[in-house]
């Protein structure tokens, strides 16, 4: 009986059947993958590249990175500080939500895309102080509109860099690969 089944598989009809089964499975799986890779909804399609093109430094809008653990999202007052002087702001559809938010005084709900799990204690300051550039982790913002992560922030990503930085310096490596450096 089993043999008969395999024989049946061998003839073209069988092969097609196999193919169909595989394809359906594959498309489902692919869709699953696709959903996990979708960027979240943002209130404003914020064009990083434009701002970078104007020569605005990252730290101007995300000053927390230099001084503390979190880089932070700029307050709307800060956005408005420049934008209320820009005529386009009044007209542009893209900026309508910002305008509306500033007028109504309701904060925009941004969805940060660069995240680490809650059991990871990450500190921007130390990394900036160690001479890391923003793009080392966050990618080149002069190319993207909405920020998106070039890579997943998983432990491998962190450790690779930490090991590279430490090189052959024992003291440094001890600090950088210590579990207690990030997990507590």
């Amino acid at each position: 009986m089993i043999k008969r089944f395999f024989d049946w598989l061998r003839q073209p009809l069988g092969l097609i059947a196999v193919g169909i089964v595989f394809l359906t499975l594959f498309s489902f799986a692919a869709y699953g993958l696709y959903t996990t890779q979708q960027p979240p909804e943002q209130p404003v399609q914020f064009p990083h590249k434009t701002h970078v093109a104007f020569g605005i430094q990252c730290l101007y809008c995300h000053p927390g990175a230099a001084t503390g653990p979190a880089a932070g999202i700029p307050s709307q007052a800060k956005c408005w500080g420049c934008h209320n002087q820009i005529v386009k702001t009044q007209t542009s559809l893209l900026l309508a939500p910002l305008k509306e938010a500033v007028i109504s005084g309701k904060p925009l709900e941004w969805v940060p895309v660069a995240q680490v799990p809650d059991f990871v204690q990450f500190n921007h300051r130390a990394h900036i102080a160690a001479g890391q550039n923003c793009e080392n982790c966050h990618g080149d913002m002069s190319k993207v509109t909405i920020a998106e992560n070039p890579q997943v922030f998983n432990m491998g990503f962190c450790l690779d860099c930490h090991k590279k930085v430490a090189g052959d310096d024992h003291e440094k490596l001890v600090k950088l690969v210590d579990c207690g450096t990030c997990h507590y």
Binding site: M1, I2, N154, M155, G156, F157, L159, V177
Partner: protein, 484 residues
Amino acid sequence: MAGYNKKEEHAHAKAELHTHGEEHFREKHLMLDPLPRGQMNDMVMESMMEKPTWRYWLVFATLSVIVAYCLFYKWGVLIMYGQGEAGVMRPDYWGIFLVNTVFWIGISHAGTFISAILRVFRAEFRRPFTRAAELMTTFGLVQAGFSIFMHLGRVWLAYWLMPYANQRMLWPNLHSPLTWDLLAITTYLLSSTMYLFLPLIPDVAMARDRSTGWRKNFYKILALGFRGTEGEWTHLRNAMNIFAFAIIPVMFSVHTIVSWDFAAATRPGWSSTIFGPYFIVGALHSGMGAAAIVLAVIRATMKHMKYFIRGEHFDAIGKLMLIISMAWAYFFFNDYMVQWYGGDKWTQQLLHFHEAGPMGWMWFGMLICNIAVPWAILWNAKWRATPWLIATVGIVINVGMWFERYIIIPVSVTINRMPFTWRLYEPGIEIPMGIGTLALFILLYMAASKLIPLIPVWEVQEGQMAHEFKKFGRETVISVSELE
């Protein structure tokens, strides 16, 4: 080459022959009571294929319900609501789940012991019940595996205990006895399954030739196209011999390593160098008991088994039980002695707690079940040959051995070096889940009894071929010819 028991069997037999004569002798010893191959095969087939009675189905159904509720549903609850459902707390971080793990691993030892060690030493009485014993090994290990996973606080992450390549530069901690445990148990499970399977091949081949329908396909797949040619037999024999020798160290290592979980810890009463052998003997003790029970049940419930399993086998198991019980008594005393003589105040406190504490009854119960009862009953040859009695002793011993593990784990961890934290363990969800594992064990066994030949027919036939009455002049002797 002839093993030790040939000679004594010989002398013994001579005396007996003179008194009773061959007839009486035949019905006494399976090996001397040969039947035609075909008939014997049919008997085994029947015993397996016979239509299950309503009693069988009743038991089967109840057990399934128990397994479904006590094991799987309760496990779901445990995972949902956490280990708080169980009775564990500080200082008793380990509870009945680990007791059961050790217990089931212990049970699983008898199988290997009977089939491998006795095979190596050519103890002829082993032949009819090697398979029954090996099944115990495998099924017991399954329960042990379940129990240890129930114990984990985040069981869904259990795969972290397995060495696999990951980008975290993290591997299981090879200093930890638990890691050794995991490796040892998996090894043991694999090898014992293989070792169960090899001797099974000729029998399923036999079954294949005598069955139809889905069974035929089933056995066909299992038999791997075994036809019983000379070459196949030689290969099979070699394979079995290799495994028989290879699995013995594995078996010993497994329970030694399990014992290291405790011996390697810094708790009073645990860090003891004798735990390795102590646990092994303990395991054999409970294992033999279990084997006795299984045999008695098989003999009572299944067709034709009165022929295959006779008083002599229970007698032999009884002897083994007695010896192991003595060995266990020695190791227990030795352990106690060392602990007591060590004079560490916490250990002293612990020993006192064992005897006089709230769980004292269990401590004495252990001694009665493991030493007093076996010694009282197993010295008598006639009693040894009574199946139900041996089975009862087996049950008693298993209860005793469970007590022993319970005392070693939850009772002992009550006493530590911080008196401020001492607390007595009160089991919770562990009880039903433990019962669940027991039910699953029996369930698997019942299923197996209907699916594969419980009696290794070919082994029995082999043995019967080897034994015969030879006449040297006026005197008749039992001769055993070498097969290989």
